[in-house]
Amino acid sequence: MSEEAKTDDQSGVDRGLIAMFLKMSPEERLQANDNAFRTIMELRDVYRRHKTNERKPR
């Protein structure tokens, strides 16, 4: 294993993911973040509703 790869393993950074993001334009990166934002909010909402239903007496 190269020294560079070892460093990568130690830091736990996904270098391929960074390379992928660097191939995108700033606008595309922003859209990717906005999509992630909306997905996170949707999942949190689903989770909250699930928890609320769990607490309801049957």
Binding site: S11, V13, F21, E28, N33, M41
Partner: protein
């Protein structure tokens, strides 16, 4: 997300940035979104800006905030609109708007203001406007001193992003927008 009295009816951080630029507000994009735009694969839930505190700019910023129904993010349900004195002070104003959360910072790490940070920005052409973004190198320098666990966690990702950028475009890469391949 706990945002107190209200929550965004939609979240579109790109639109929030675009609307700020359209309103003619002088600001520097800092924080997570500045890192995202420069290629760091992190996710952020708000827009962080450092604004010029000139009276004219504060007036433009206040008008913009009114147009997006901005209110302070609070733990209670009170709806408190930001005031002129909030934006001309030295603190952080954390807001919820119709199109996403917005943090307005008078100063960031080390007491740096808009004027202090200007020389460390990169200008990006964003939807027909010039968007000033704090450069990745300065973001890393500032995050090194941060005590926020989130910042510490992100630091290796930011450093590796800068390393790859410099490898690809050289050390002067941040003087202009990175080309899309």
């Amino acid at each position: 997300m706990s945002i107190g009295g209200t929550k965004p009816t939609s979240a579109n951080l790109g639109e929030l940035l675009e609307r700020l630029l359209e309103a003619g507000v002088d600001f520097i994009l800092v924080g997570g979104l500045a890192a995202v735009i420069q290629g760091a694969p992190v996710t952020t839930m708000d827009v962080d800006i450092v604004h010029s505190q000139s009276p004219e700019n504060i007036a433009r910023l206040l008008a913009f905030l009114k147009s997006v129904d901005a209110v302070q993010r609070r733990m209670d349900d009170n709806l408190v609109e930001p005031k002129e004195r909030d934006l001309s002070g030295k603190g952080h104003v954390l807001l919820t708007t119709r199109i996403g959360p917005l943090d307005i910072l008078a100063v960031i790490e080390g007491g740096r203001t808009y004027e202090d940070l200007l020389e460390h920005t990169v200008e990006i052409d964003f939807r027909g406007h010039a968007l000033r973004v704090l450069d990745l190198k300065t973001l890393i320098e500032l995050k090194k001193t941060s005590t926020d666990p989130k910042d510490k966690q992100r630091l290796p990702v930011l450093k590796e992003t800068l390393r790859q950028l410099e490898e690809k475009y050289g050390r002067g890469h941040d003087k202009e927008d990175s080309p899309k391949e």
